[in-house]
């Protein structure tokens, strides 16, 4: 019970943080979801189980800080095939993608 309250409390905190960078519109979210599966999926697999790049499912990302994920998406990982997406995505897009990855399937609550 206490644990659940904890989860709710921390997801509220996350929502608050997200609200500051204005979450993408519903239409934009659909575009990002499609991009995640189709384009990120080129390297990470359509089911995000990994390919040339590592797996991006919640289990695989367990323990990775949200900010680390955001930095990786925005700046890429120099010396690897991971490109920086900062030039074509907004900060709000990137934050949404990071949370989407941590959450797993679309529509679930963020558990942190």
């Amino acid at each position: 019970m206490w644990r659940r309250i904890g989860i709710v409390a921390s997801s509220l905190a996350v929502s608050a943080a997200l609200a500051q960078s204005a979450a993408p519109s519903a239409q934009r979210q659909a575009e990002l979801e499609s991009m995640l599966l189709q384009d990120c999926g080129s390297c990470h697999g359509l089911t995000l189980k990994g390919g040339l790049g590592p797996a991006l499912r919640p289990q695989a990302l367990a323990g990775k800080p949200r900010q680390w994920l955001i930095d990786t998406i925005r700046d890429g990982r120099p010396g690897t095939a991971m490109p920086p997406w900062g030039p074509i995505l907004s900060d709000a897009d990137i934050a949404w993608l990071a949370d989407r990855l941590l959450r797993g399937a679309p529509g679930k609550e963020v558990k942190r």
Partner: protein
């Protein structure tokens, strides 16, 4: 919209027919429907869909080779699935899950062996083409007991397979004279992160593109004792590279006369190589970062598609003037182009529009559109008779 569903219904009806077609397969092709784990079988004489085969697993990065009689397509899926599809009966004949994560495959010169290159666990597995029985397992070990992801697997004359090790920066040649006991020759330090490989249509040169540095690594299979040499190692030097959102592909070899055309990595350019001395002859500015660079079979034109976020267009290069002469706009998500064997038409998959398009290559006019769900690779059965495909 309504008509679209009607088509789908008619289409499913065709699937239920369990009789096998009495026909040749020389004009057939397979279209991968990547999100559905399905393939369409299409015929290129009248440009129609014949059947759809489902249950092929994760096809997010799929490729196909054909049996020498052109009846069976071997489909390599991302999830390690190797499926043998009967084109005439439109069904999966056999299917094995041979690894956790696979990238592509090849069929041996004699058609008896199927090799699959794997990311996880890194290596190559070789199967009997009839039964899909595992004959050999070649782990791509390097360094301190690590295993490398394997890419750029092709067949070569002399019953050999050639492939590259992404993490290790090596090219391996596997001699399969005795299929259960492959003899491996390793070439080390060929360059950082080879991302794909190809073999010239005559089967002589194996070339790996390098992601981690400029240039390409070339192995002369007539003279493996001479080792791997670097070609084009000055292109892009000192230039600021763009982020690469999609790995280029080297499958096939866009050769026109004594020139070859290849995608530049991280640049909006197609490189032209003089095949007499393997030097860069020219660099053609194009719309985006090229993914596939393919010569029309008569070698008169080269067609190019592009990486995200410029993947809505296709450009056509005239090989005499080395200039872009036409730009087509099929729509977002152009993933692949495949010429019909004599090159009079080309098939283009447009993922985000759920369409496959057929163009007349003389007029560059759109002839036909077929519905396909998130189509990616298109593979003509005529590949059955070509080295390296």
């Amino acid at each position: 919209m309504k008509r679209w569903w009607l088509l789908l219904v008619l289409f499913s009806g065709a699937l239920l027919a369990d009789d096998c077609a009495l026909r040749g397969t020389g004009d057939l092709a397979i279209v991968i429907e990547r999100a559905d784990g399905a393939v369409q079988i299409v015929e290129t004489t009248h440009n129609t869909a014949i059947a759809r085969v489902e249950g092929l697993g994760d096809l997010s990065h799929a490729s196909v080779v054909y049996s020498r009689d052109g009846r069976y397509a071997y489909v390599f899926g991302r999830d390690g699935g190797l499926s043998k599809v009967d084109l005439l009966c439109a069904r999966v004949e056999k299917r094995v899950i041979q690894s956790g994560n696979s990238i592509g495959g090849a069929i041996s010169q004699d058609g008896r062996l199927i090799a699959v290159s794997n990311y996880t666990p890194g290596g190559v597995k070789v199967f009997d083409a009839d039964s899909l029985e595992l004959l050999a397992d070649i782990p791509a070990t390097w360094g301190n007991g690590l295993r490398s992801k394997v890419i750029g697997l092709v067949d070569a004359p002399g019953r050999r397979f050639v492939f590259s090790l992404w993490d290790a920066g090596e090219i391996w040649v596997a001699d399969m004279q005795d299929p259960r006991h492959p003899r491996i020759t390793r070439f080390r330090d060929i360059g950082r992160n080879p991302y794909d490989g190809l073999i010239t249509p005559d089967g002589r040169y194996y070339i790996a593109g390098l992601f981690g540095e400029d240039g390409m690594a070339q192995l002369d299979l007539w003279h493996p004792e001479r080792g791997v040499r670097r070609i084009l190692d000055h292109y892009g030097r000192g230039e600021k590279k763009l982020p690469v959102y999609k790995m280029p592909h080297l499958e096939g070899w866009a050769v026109a006369g004594d020139r070859a055309f290849v995608p530049a990595v991280g640049l909006h350019a197609v490189l032209v190589i003089d095949l007499r001395d393997w030097r860069e002859l020219a660099r053609i500015p194009v719309h985006g970062q090229p993914v596939f660079v393919e010569a029309r079979p008569d070698g008169r034109e080269v067609w190019v598609n592009f990486a995200f976020p410029n993947n809505e267009k296709v450009q056509i290069i005239d090989v005499e003037t080395l200039k872009v002469t036409h730009t087509l706009e099929p729509g977002k998500g152009v993933l692949h182009m495949e010429f019909e064997p004599r090159g009079e038409e080309v098939w283009i998959s447009v993922r985000d529009r759920d369409r496959v398009q057929v163009y007349d290559t003389a007029t560059h006019r759109l002839l036909r559109e077929l519905p396909a769900r998130k189509p990616s690779g298109i593979f003509m059965a005529a590949r059955a008779h070509r080295i390296g495909l």
